[in-house]
Amino acid sequence: MRNILAMTAMATLLAGTVANAADTTLTISSYGGVYQEAQSKSYFQPFMAENPDIKIVEDSSSSNAKLKAMVETGNVTLDLVVTDDSFGLDTDAQWLEPIDYAVVDKSKFIEGAAGMYRVAADIEGTVLAYNAEEFGGEAPNGFADFFNTEKFPGSRAVWKYAASGIFEAALIADGVKPQDLYPIDVERALKKLDTIKEDLVWWESGSQSEQLLSSGEASMALVWVGRAVNVAEKGIKIDWTNWTSQTGYWVVPKGTKNKEAAMKAINFFTEPAQQVAFTKYMPYGPSNKNALPSVDAKFKGSLPTDHLDTRVLMNADWWAENGAKVDLRFQEWLLQ
């Protein structure tokens, strides 16, 4: 009996020391899969090694709706969240803590990567991917060819989401210059889309887009660059003539108890060493301009940041303001 008591006391003591070793627990939510694994290896683990007092607990999968509901019900269980272009804008202030630029170095980011409530985690893109076997040696050249079903026959797979970049792609194919895209001429874009409506196949998840390309069901697709690289072995190539921006962002939910640690983590995750390590695992470019020259050789050439000159930068603010209206029009068009 005495022994048991002593052992319990010892165990309690030990547990106490362990708890002391990490007195802050930072809960981070990302998108899961290979993406989050890469973040874990290149960001989270090195951060814990350097900051033994902070323990990172991972959660997935990030959802803007979940974040919003969490903050509104006052039950903030996430300290740091990876989000997409549609969230973290100035209009989302009620759900987010502003980025503390006294802790996070603002000057290190590439253009458009550091906002009031979000900083870019990595630079992604929606690219034109095509099945090289389908066109007998011919390669499409930009969004104009995406709409040219005579020269490049076959189905086109596109994300069924108004702000996916499809409106931008249609307008560029119709001759609009990237700098003149906004405000989007919705009716003009839909008119252009009408010309290939029968050839459009819509995807709603990344795995579905891969399936459509690799099975030959679609000969061309607008897909996330990571997905296109995943099916490269199946003869899927990327045409970088035009591509639309897509970005992963760090945001901090309003009301988190670990705000300081979250800011510290953001700064650490966006340092060159971590961002370069990340490019070993994922074909997404760094948001830190000092990391650009030294990206890993593995995906060199397939990183969006290797093609920043042809990037069509999506205007997230315009979408935040007009997204709901355009979405309804888009749904209506889909039903026609």
């Binding site: 959802s63 803007n64 709706a65 989401y161 819509w202 399936q211 069901e217």
Partner: protein
């Protein structure tokens, strides 16, 4: 009411009948009721509250004045109705074979029914893609045998949605039918044939009316489940086959407009309740008519 009298252990017969006495069955369902109130009724009321910010009905106004929403709601009911009819029509002979086809048939049919039932819905919808797509098994086979030259469009059509939904709903429709059919006394059919009725006539006059409760139960189940379908129409249908659940998800996940999403969900729920109510009323009318006819 009188505590001391109860504590005194007065014989039950001597005690005044207690008007508030709760039947013991109540305590048996109490956990279920509590569970439903906590995890169903309360969130549901919360959903209704979200759809009415500060008591304003703006979201409902928006739904009933926006053609897109009305069209998708109408389409949802139309597709669900067709799917229900097809599902019950397919389930009926299947359940009949299960109920009256002998032990071996029952075993094989039950296993065949339940194994896909345990596979995730997403996986089953993806399997249909593999089969039905232009470069899928069915089209490859038809082209290889020379029956067709160009792939037939099976997927991303109303047909694709239909086949996927019927497949998923089939177990839900077969099981209630089977439980009813198994209890039908087949000697009644024998009696009808002794009286000179053909099998068909006996079936129509005796078996089918007796199986009606099963048909009604499986139709209601299939219909209410079909109204909420989300993944299957998204994967197997064209955008024109959009169902209301996809729009609700879009409002929550993409637009982050919880109010409009909640209002759409409430509208779907109320319309479903009305549809099920109408169905129940029609059934009651039919049954009472059948009874009075039988009485004559």
């Amino acid at each position: 009411m009188n505590v001391s009298a109860q504590d005194g252990g007065a014989p039950a017969s001597a005690r005044a009948p207690w008007p508030f006495r709760v039947p013991s069955a109540f305590w048996l369902i109490a956990p279920a009721v509590l569970f439903l109130v906590l995890f169903f009724v309360f969130p549901l009321l919360k959903l209704v509250a979200i759809s009415l910010p500060d008591g304003s009905v703006e979201y409902y106004e928006q739904i009933f004045t926006t053609p897109v929403f009305l069209r998708v709601i109408g389409e949802t009911f139309r597709v669900s109705l067709i799917v229900t009819v097809v599902t019950v029509a397919v389930a009926y002979p299947y359940a009949y074979a299960m109920a009256h086809g002998g032990r071996a048939a029952l075993l094989i049919l039950t296993v065949a029914l339940l194994i896909p039932f345990w596979v995730s819905l997403l996986l089953r919808s993806f399997s249909w893609i593999v089969l039905l797509q232009n470069s899928g098994l069915i089209n490859d086979f038809l082209i290889a045998t020379g029956l067709i030259e160009k792939p037939v469009r099976l997927i991303r059509t109303p047909f694709g949605v239909m086949i996927g939904m019927v497949h998923i709903l089939l177990p839900y429709a077969v099981l209630p039918l089977y439980t009813v059919m198994k209890k039908i006394d087949l000697r009644l059919m024998e009696a009808s044939s002794i009286c000179g009725a053909s099998w068909f006539k006996g079936f129509m006059r005796i078996y089918f009316p007796l199986s009606m409760p099963g048909v009604a139960a499986s139709a209601i189940l299939a219909f209410t489940l079909a109204l909420g379908f989300y993944i299957t129409p998204a994967l197997l249908g064209s955008p024109r086959d959009m169902m209301i659940a996809q729009m609700i998800a879009g409002q929550f996940n993409e637009q982050l407009n919880f109010g409009l999403g909640a209002a759409l969900a409430v509208v779907l729920m109320v319309l479903t309740a009305i549809a099920v109510g109408l169905f129940g009323a029609a059934r009651a009318v039919l049954q009472s008519r059948g009874r009075s006819k039988g009485g004559v």
